[in-house]
Symmetry: C2
Subunit: 522 residues, 2 copies
């Protein structure tokens, strides 16, 4: 017998029809599934009816049934002969503005099989959301953007399936988590009003759609669960992250910070969820994620600076000669520079301490991180005062947002039992370094949990339980979205946070600057 | 304001979006409909999302919403600017083997607008169900049969819409009632197993489908309710008839007889329904409906014979010269011949009484109903002993089926408070004549209610209430289908019923043969 224990798959053996029991094939199958699932609410996809009678007879009235569940009922979306010898897979997608991540999992066991990532082909239209929204307003623009993402996905699906030796036909369920604009473009919906006051999406809860309607390369009857959004700036990717973190289930209050192109924050527990997005504040517009190179071979991801000798200990991905610094490397670098006294509390490079590592390019101070002789490019790998200023604005905005949202619900940082860090940038962040520069609050390190790509992880999780849609709706409906009001109080907090780690060192008791006294600028 | 009082149409005025209420357009509309319909279960057809934002803004957030209801939820399937100035129509279809009838109604008021009928184009493949089922098994046969009925319907829809000055796009809901095979061919499902023991349809309860999936010329989002069947021989047309008759709602027991190509019977009340179909008995195979011509101009539909002079008083449709006799005319003729003593209790023509009206053709006695000089064809219009024998077998089968089904539930004919006669043939039947020949039981004439095309009427009714699907399911699930067992008891009853009106005259006290004594054959 089958050992499959899946929420989506049932093997049923039917009594063959007889003159005494002439129930139709479809209704006979549904009757067995009702008893198996203990529910009265099951529908069959009409497309299955064409082949069902012959299949049932060939299989001697034993069939593997693939189901999905929407808000109201179970849906029979696939029928196969034998569950054990046929692959039944699910596809989870994190629909990022820049990168799209795919996860394939075995629906029988719920186990992930493979993942892949590709650059969002809509980048050919424009790297940022705004450009794409404007393009969608042009004749054929929306169609083109939709075709780009669908065909990109279909190519990636084909490749991923090949690598796992499954067919696209074997994909029987799909989940899509993405920001509000990306999700709209994926569905072929015009995001025109999303970016115009008062910022209204076409739909908050798209629910379940058909893969064939969307044009996805999957089983044509596969249902596609599209994560809902709370509004223009709080998308399904974040709902997926909240689902994955589990913070909506906990009694204790926790916070989730997603640092990607924007910074989105949600704080709460099983009773309430308060959310805001950094895009509402102008300070993060030149966001932290833009500093540094995309992680890859030869990119610096960790840096230590010896407090006395100021010697740099540099780690690159795959230990290759350095060719750039990624986001997490930048935060490490700033933290280490600060601890070594090479930048002051305003974030300015201190010539007396930096010494020979400083050089001026077009009148702007640059710190040589790796010299030309040792870099992969044959040129000095530098980090300028402009880069530093930008990083400091970003970290100040982040800290200000965190203070603002927690203050709005009367929760102090210390009451946060868990601090989840998510997102493409957040994945690699060293919380210790982020605390040192005053980007994240000074909590015990064990409270920080780095989630990685929580959007993809949430999309995968949604394929592992038939209660997912229910939970996703619950999360979405529990969220109170707070527009970040960039008022005087916000600006005061922001100004204070532009220092390293902060104007009020009592907020960061764990941050000890080794050489501060000696080289403090006057 | 709109005076529309429809179960399917609602006009809602939304609060325009604001920074304080940034709910998406679709969710804003659904929210208003939830409050209007007092339900939490509403979904929007995703196809509406593409144009919704612009429409809502153009219409200043006031919209006419067209809804449908399936078993689990309401479905928003259309959005229009102004209910009063836009036609919103529904289409009801009786999908007959021979004839297809269409009814168009105004969904705003529930009032029928127009009807039309066309010959089922599948007749080009074969006039009877069996031929078509066999054809469906050939390569491309099913596809061809499906295309024939869909294109035939689409032509008829276009014509009907033109005549009412509405567009096919304005058809927002469709109901289809037909026998089990016709319904399967309409859905593109192979009826192969329906005619093979143990006679299993692909599906009993197709539920709600999409007009665009079916290829119907209607609004692409229009939902199509397909009446369920109880089995191979008890189709959706009969369920529609039961819905229209209302017998499933009455406390008192009633019977419904549908005399079309086959004879189907249902007896019951609000608590139970027992059904059987004449096709299960071999006696009706050369069914009553095959005798006589299809009703039309010049066809005899009523006949009276003067009891003493044996003069024929003939009525033709549109009072044109006679060119044939329709089914109801045949029953009238047999009844009058019997009352005038021109046929005996065995149904044999009595030469002594018929006199000059008799002639022999190839050795078979023929009664001249209209002589060559007066007929439309210039030839004698005759009714032969073979026709009579066939009619008597059919009427005997009908009476036997009625006795068998009522006996099976322990109900005597006299306990039947209502006797509904339906079907293309039943529409024109004169219950008095049918009683005279012993086809129908001898009940007071006021208990007989001739329903006409009850399948179309039921399909129309289903468009007038949002509880229809619920009621249809209830009817279908209440029905106990009885296989007619052609055993010795059945055959004994059948033999007794082959006399006019019956071997036991006490069963037909109202039937008085005027000249029986005088001309009784010895």
């Amino acid at each position: 017998m089958s050992k499959v224990q899946s929420p989506w798959i049932r093997t049923v053996s039917l009594n063959p029809p007889s003159l005494q029991d002439n129930t139709a094939d479809a209704d006979r199958l549904i009757r067995a599934l009702k008893s198996e699932l203990k529910t009265e609410a099951i529908d069959i996809d009409p497309a299955l009816l064409k082949t069902l009678p012959d299949s049932l007879r060939k299989w001697e009235y034993k069939a593997g049934c693939i189901l999905f569940k929407d808000r109201y009922r179970w849906l029979l979306t696939g029928v196969i002969q034998d569950v054990d010898s046929n692959p039944v897979v699910g596809l989870a997608v994190d629909l990022g503005t820049t990168r799209v991540a795919l996860g394939l999992l075995d629906l029988k066991t719920g186990r992930p099989i493979a993942e892949s990532v590709f650059d969002n082909p809509q980048e050919s239209v424009g790297p940022d959301i705004l450009t794409r929204v404007h393009h969608a307003g042009r004749p054929e623009g929306l169609k083109a953007l939709n075709a780009l993402i669908i065909s990109g996905l279909n190519r990636a699906i084909a490749k991923l399936c090949r690598s796992c030796k499954v067919k696209a036909q074997d994909i029987h369920a799909v989940t899509i988590a993405g920001n509000t604009v990306m999700t709209h473009l994926f569905m072929g919906l015009n995001p025109y009003w999303i970016i115009r006051e008062p910022y209204i999406p076409v739909v908050n809860k798209p629910g379940i759609m058909h893969s064939r309607t969307l044009g996805l390369r999957a089983n044509p009857q596969a249902r596609v669960l599209i994560f809902p959004n709370v509004g223009s700036y709080f998308g399904g990717d974040l709902i997926a992250g909240i689902l994955f973190s589990g913070l909506y289930r906990d009694d204790k209050t926790a916070i989730l910070v997603d640092v990607g192109t924007n910074a989105e924050v949600v704080v709460g527990n099983r009773n309430w969820l308060m959310a805001c997005a950094g895009a509402a504040g102008p300070a993060l517009e030149s966001g932290a994620a833009r500093i540094g190179t995309t992680a890859g071979p030869g990119v610096i991801d960790k840096i230590a600076i010896h407090p006395n000798s100021q010697e740099f200990e540099i780690h690159t991905i795959e230990d290759l000669p350095a060719r750039g610094i990624c986001g997490s490397g930048v935060i490490d670098l700033a933290a280490q520079l600060f601890l070594a006294g090479m930048i002051d509390i305003r974030g300015k490079l201190v010539p007396q301490v930096c010494g020979k590592r400083l050089k001026a390019v077009s009148g702007i101070a640059h710190l040589v991180v790796v010299s030309a002789g040792q870099s992969a490019t044959g040129e000095d790998l530098t980090f300028s005062q402009v880069d530093l200023d930008s990083l400091i604005r970003s970290k100040a905005a982040m800290y200000t947002i965190l203070r603002t949202i927690t203050a709005s619900v009367g929760v102090s940082f210390n009451e946060l039992e868990r601090f989840y860090v998510a997102g493409t940038f957040g994945s690699f962040i060293n919380p210790g370094s982020a605390i040192t520069i005053g980007m994240l609050p000074d909590l015990p390190l064990e409270r920080y949990i780095v989630l990685g790509n929580s959007s993809l992880a949430g999309a995968i999780l949604a394929l592992q339980s038939h209660k997912s849609l229910e939970e996703i709706d619950r999360i979405r409906d529990h969220i109170t979205y707070m527009e970040l009001n960039v008022n005087q109080e916000f600006m005061n907090r922001f100004s204070a946070a532009k220092f390293l780690p902060h104007t009020d060192p009592a907020r960061f008791p764990s941050v000890k600057v080794n050489v501060r006294q000696k080289d403090k600028p006057q």
